[in-house]
């Protein structure tokens, strides 16, 4: 390799941004396969080449959890893909299915009633907090901080319990359906939610003490895995990772869906672009989600109950199901939904999950099945960040960067 300039860091501004070619490697670098059975990789493999202790090249080898969602989505009618797509990010279930439901709604020309919209937002925010806490837990264990793992996992149970009270399922809620949601809030839910919010606020302070302001953790995260703003925009990374790099982008603001334009919340943006900034964005987002939950719960408590499905669908309900809907607030799925047809057309539905923007491209030919469902999950878009963020760092920074990107392979592989 003598006589050749080695550019660590993968990209340089004066050279212009170029695609890093992979697999052209000198013989004096060491190749390490990290994954798929590896505590620092999850369900993926990162092939890194190290020169001494410095990563010169990273090649994310994903696809270990590719469960063919796009193909299966084409053969299951319009309703059954909802539980299917939920499995991509099982701890962020409402966020990840809502955009699909909205795309179908756009094609069908129906819209959820206001109360259903508030309920969707409520579950979305509960899920967002749970997803961020899961990310913290994994991050903690990556940095060797088992207490952070346990605390975040334990506090996540609070919000899982909240979602279970609301929907009846721990993780796989299948809550939004085209034209509405499946359940109204149960008795006593608002108080429970307020207690959870209060508890979580208190815990965030304790997280700050033991994790975020811990000198060891801070020194591991500061100036590590820096993704500058311009690079972040070129790579198209999404969610807290983009917002940690100073990109002011949140689907809840850009394309306010459901009732996000009526709620009072802020979208935190940090400009450093390092692992610590990405972590702080998540902490702030938990705070904002707690605010949203408070507002939504108050709204739901004040307003009288109304049917939680669209009128055009409500009309088709048989009397018994109407009675159940009105007395118990439970919207039954009807048999015709399994074979319903959706007018031909194309629609893009998108939403902000805990990890960033998810996009569903849904195409219908007027039949009983979607003609094509293209899913672009946030982790799938973040995967490319490994290739550009890892080179130039030490091997010991790999878990810190991986954890701060909050990458979830089942979501990325679809």
């Amino acid at each position: 390799m003598s006589g050749e300039v080695r550019v660590y860091g993968g990209w340089r501004d004066d050279l212009g941004l170029k695609v890093i070619p992979t697999r052209r490697l000198a013989r004096d670098v060491y190749e390490v396969f990290i994954g798929p059975q590896h505590p620092g990789s999850g369900h993926m493999r990162i092939i890194i080449r190290v020169d001494g202790d410095v990563i010169v090249e990273a090649d994310p080898d994903i696809g270990y959890v590719h469960r063919t969602m796009e193909k299966l989505g084409e053969i299951r009618g319009w309703i059954k893909p909802i539980p299917l797509f939920e499995r991509m990010a099982i701890h962020d279930a409402c966020n990840i299915t809502l955009p699909y439901v909205r795309a179908v709604e756009k094609l069908m020309g129906v819209e959820a009633p206001l109360r259903a919209k508030y309920l969707r937002v409520l579950l979305c925010e509960i899920n967002r907090i749970a997803a961020h806490l899961y990310g913290f837990a994994i991050f903690g264990v990556f940095l060797g901080h088992s207490t952070m793992y346990m605390w975040a996992m334990g506090d996540r149970e609070v919000f899982i319990q909240l979602a279970e009270e609301l929907t009846g399922a721990r993780l796989t809620h299948s809550y939004p359906i085209p034209g509405g949601v499946r359940r109204d809030i149960p008795q006593g839910f608002p108080d429970m939610a307020r207690r959870a919010v209060k508890y979580m606020r208190k815990r965030l302070e304790e997280y700050r003490k033991i994790f975020l302001d811990n000198p060891v953790i801070r020194s591991r995260l500061e100036d590590v895995g820096v993704i500058p703003k311009r690079l972040a925009a070129e790579l198209g990374i999404v969610g807290p990772n983009a917002r940690g790099s100073g990109i002011q982008y949140d689907v809840r603001i850009i394309e306010p869906y459901e009732v996000y334009d009526e709620l009072d919340f802020e979208v935190p943006v940090y400009t450093e672009g390092d692992a610590l900034a990405r972590t702080y964005v998540r902490v702030e987002e938990i705070r904002q989600s707690l605010r949203i939950i408070e507002q939504v719960v108050e709204w739901l408590e004040k307003k009288p109950r109304e049917p939680i499905v669209d009128e055009s669908i409500y009309k088709k309900y048989p009397p018994l199901h109407k009675k159940i809907l009105e007395s118990q607030g439970r919207a039954k799925l009807l048999p015709w939904m399994a074979t319903m047809k959706v007018p031909a057309g194309r629609a893009i539905g998108r939403g902000e999950t805990g990890r960033g923007e998810i996009i569903y491209y849904v195409e219908s030919d007027g039949g009983m099945n979607p003609y094509r469902v293209r899913i672009v999950t946030p982790s799938a878009r973040n995967a490319i960040a490994f290739k550009y963020a890892l080179p130039g760092h030490r091997v010991m920074d790999l878990p810190a960067i991986y954890g701060s990107l909050d990458y979830f392979p089942p979501e990325a592989d679809r």
């Binding site: 270990y64 193909k71 991509m88």
Partner: protein, 201 residues
């Protein structure tokens, strides 16, 4: 005995004699079974999305560690493998290799409907059944199973090990007769030989 090596004895013969003495004459079967039952360390192998519930099992609310199960990193030091959901074609090889890297006696728990028979993905082209890849001891139904049922599966496995003397008889015999009905490794790992990923320059 190869040439050029210091004499260390025939390890297999020595090990066999040692386990005959320990298990046969000293009657240590019960101790071994007890120790195996209360020291089930699952290896870190996340195959799919059930891993979130598996992670929750070892969180504070359910605390799987109270049964002596401590999630561990390397396959060499563990004795339990938990298949956390769907196993894809690409992952099957990793599952098999991990299983083979673990020292026996070792056990496997299959978690979730996907690990039973494909579950929601039963007609997917990229999904294999875990019981074709490695022999399974305990199945947990559910999609995903609740953490309680994972803890329950660990307890069931403990009961199985102690009740049927699984560990001690495995050590004495050297193999488990009911564990050999899995497909050959080439079925799942052959693609790696042709994979463009592993091309060297």
């Amino acid at each position: 005995m190869e040439e050029g090596k210091v004499y260390v004895g025939n390890l297999d013969v020595a090990a066999k004699r040692a386990r005959d003495i320990l298990l046969g004459k000293l009657k240590l079967e019960k101790v071994v079974d007890w120790a195996n039952a209360f020291s089930l360390w699952p290896v870190h192998l996340t195959t799919s999305c059930c891993s979130t519930e598996f992670a929750a099992t070892f969180g504070p609310r359910f605390d799987g560690e109270q049964f002596g199960a401590l999630p561990w990193v390397g396959p060499r030091q563990t004795n339990l493998i938990v298949i956390e959901g769907t196993v894809t074609r690409k992952m099957a090889c990793a599952v098999r290799v991990t299983w083979e890297q673990m020292p026996h006696p070792k056990y496997a728990i299959a978690m979730g409907a996907c690990a039973l028979d494909g579950g929601l993905f039963y007609n997917s082209y990229n999904v294999v059944r875990p019981w074709e890849v490695i022999p399974i001891d305990i199945y947990i139904p559910g999609c995903p199973p609740r953490p309680e049922s994972v803890a329950r599966a660990i307890v069931e496995l403990q009961r199985k090990i102690r009740g049927r003397r699984v560990a001690s008889s495995w050590i004495r015999e050297g193999w488990r007769p009911d564990r050999d009905y899995v497909a050959p490794k080439e079925d799942y790992c052959a693609w790696q030989k042709t994979s463009p990923l592993l091309e060297r320059v």
